[in-house]
Amino acid sequence: MTSQPKTLFDKLWDAHVVTPETEGAPAILYVDLHLIHEVTSPQAFAELDARGLPVRRPERTKGTLDHSTPTLPANASGQLPYVNDEARAQVDTLRANCARFGVELFDYDSPQRGIVHVMGPEMGLTQPGQTIVCGDSHTATHGAFGALAFGIGTSEVGHVLATQCLLQRKAKTLAITVEGELAPGVSAKDLILHVIGVIGVNGGTGHVIEYRGSAIRSLSMEQRMTVCNMSIEAGARAGLMAPDDVTFDYLRGRPRAPQGEAFEAAVEQWKSLRTDDGATFDSEVRIDARDIQPTVTWGTHPGQVAAISSRIPGSDGTDEAKARDYMGWDPNAAVAGRAVDVVFVGSCTNSRLSDLREAASVLRGRHVHPRVRMLVVPGSEQVKREAEREGIDRIVRAAGAEWREPGCSMCIAMNGDLVGAGQLAVSTSNRNFEGRQGKGARTVLASPATAAACAVAGEITDPRPYLTTQPAPHASAQLETV
């Protein structure tokens, strides 16, 4: 029997189809891992209550607290500084729901709590070959492991809680192949911003992206997560990459991954998770890694990008003119040199240890510009612990930036970590929509190195000079193990 060559997406899809799709009905797709957080789950649990339903497979759902949570520590009497009572009630609601329905919750007292897309991979919950969903559009992050991972709405959170399944039409496939070597000082964030700039903010709509090519294979696991994370910013349902030795080495020994011989047996299975030779994609885009420079967004969606060394568009197109007005740019303005008010290093895109090291390598022995307020927010308790062990917190503080507790913080800005109206924030997060970081706030998306360089310079600047030159040694802050 000869079998048709399959894409990685085909293999993941086929392995999870409970009933195939027909003209009259979507496929029923089984979900291996369901991640939940406080913002998009309360109404789903309420639906279960209204129908008197249990959670079908509580062991396949894991909860964390990240979006509404304060990033300042509790006060002397143990009270966390929530933005309002509703936010506190939302956290309490998830805690109560997890307890009632038997779902494991990584609460404040857990050494593993973190942003859902940071925590899942670092615990080894995320594994190749899985289907993973979460009421959060950045769930594509987990696709970096060769999993089919995508964001769902709250009604669907209810569907998964009650049935462990979703009704899905199969998406189309889009191959994005990046060949060649990234230039020194060019990061995974620059790569994905460049990709979104090429295909457009809606270039992936209706598709699952598979990232391929030598430039992708040479990325670390954390860098791969940064790339897959932003698939939704091009409109894609999911983004994924074939697992390889980098993936297996990352997962080996993680607490929730298979252990010992079982792990090696799993690896043998995971190795088959790659697109077969001869398989075809619905669309393909090829990108030369050498064309990618340090890149930022200049506009009000993640497709409006520019190399830092370039100028923003001067065209009269309504979309561009509107974005330019909102952001306060003159037509054809140079990207570099624009004054910066706020710098945020964090979010499910760029809050992992390697991201914080990248920012710290720029901040080390330097000081944040007096005009700039800078927040560094680790993605999880584990990232925070590891960063502190290396002295990154001391470098951040010595540079005059704030070192915070883990959470989504200023990316979604619903916990009170806000950018003021009219202020310009350089942010390592994933969305630069109008008002995303606060009403009237202006967001420039960038890599951790670029964000840190902008904080020091007080203006948008190319990070490369900061990465190649070291300032005089700083007495109070030394990296111990980087």
Binding site: E23, G24, Y30, V83, A89, D136, A162, R237, A266
Partner: protein, 199 residues
């Protein structure tokens, strides 16, 4: 879910392209644990002026648009976050259909689960509608047609399953719950597969 067979209404127009879910419902209003009551915050940052007063120019603040059930918007409506609060806010405003040349995937899926009909039409037709706010449209869910002001009837794509759910007011969770037997069979098979490497 309430059945939806027909929508007849004047249109409200938002000409912008790429209207993301942060515009539809800004994140700071997501601390609620309810589905209801989000309409008052819909498009908050476009509806209000910097001093907090209502922006008289914004279409949803204009008297003639009160009660309108059809929104016509620029291409790639609903991009960004997966928050179902976006269709909840729009239905709370009274909307039952969104017409655009392209609608983002997760928003479309969420809308259909809340009796909000996502309608994608050709650019040329959407461009006409964007130029003439307030015209009356008639949407027929069973026929999958929109009747334009000049009497032309145009087809729109609608998944057959989603169409049945809308017409009959069937909710998708009810449908899934009836599949318990096949899901159980699949689980036994899946667990054997996972057991092979997880034990």
């Amino acid at each position: 879910m309430q059945a939806l067979t027909e929508v007849v209404s004047r249109t409200v127009v938002l000409r912008e392209r790429n209207i993301d879910t942060d515009q539809i419902i800004p994140a700071r209003f997501l601390t609620t644990t309810e589905r209801k009551g989000l309409g008052k915050h819909a498009f908050n940052d476009w509806r209000t002026l910097p001093d907090g007063s209502a922006n008289p120019e914004f279409p949803f603040n204009r008297a003639e648009n009160i009660g309108a059930r059809i929104l016509v918007a620029g291409r790639n409506f609903g991009c960004g976050s997966s928050r179902e609060h976006a269709p909840w806010a729009l239905t709370d405003l009274g909307l039952r259909a969104v017409v655009s040349a392209q609608i983002a995937d997760i928003f479309r899926s969420n809308a259909l689960k809340n009796g909000l009909l996502p309608i994608v039409l050709d650019d040329a037709i959407v461009d006409e509608l964007l130029e003439q706010p307030g015209v009356e449209l008639r949407i027929d869910v069973a026929q999958r047609t929109v009747t334009l002001p000049d009497g032309r009837r145009v087809q729109f794509p609608l998944d057959a399953f989603a169409q049945t759910c809308l017409l009959e007011g069937v909710d998708q969770l009810g449908y899934l719950l009836k599949q318990d037997r096949v899901i159980s069979q699949f689980e036994q098979h899946r667990q054997r597969q996972e057991f092979r490497h997880a034990s």
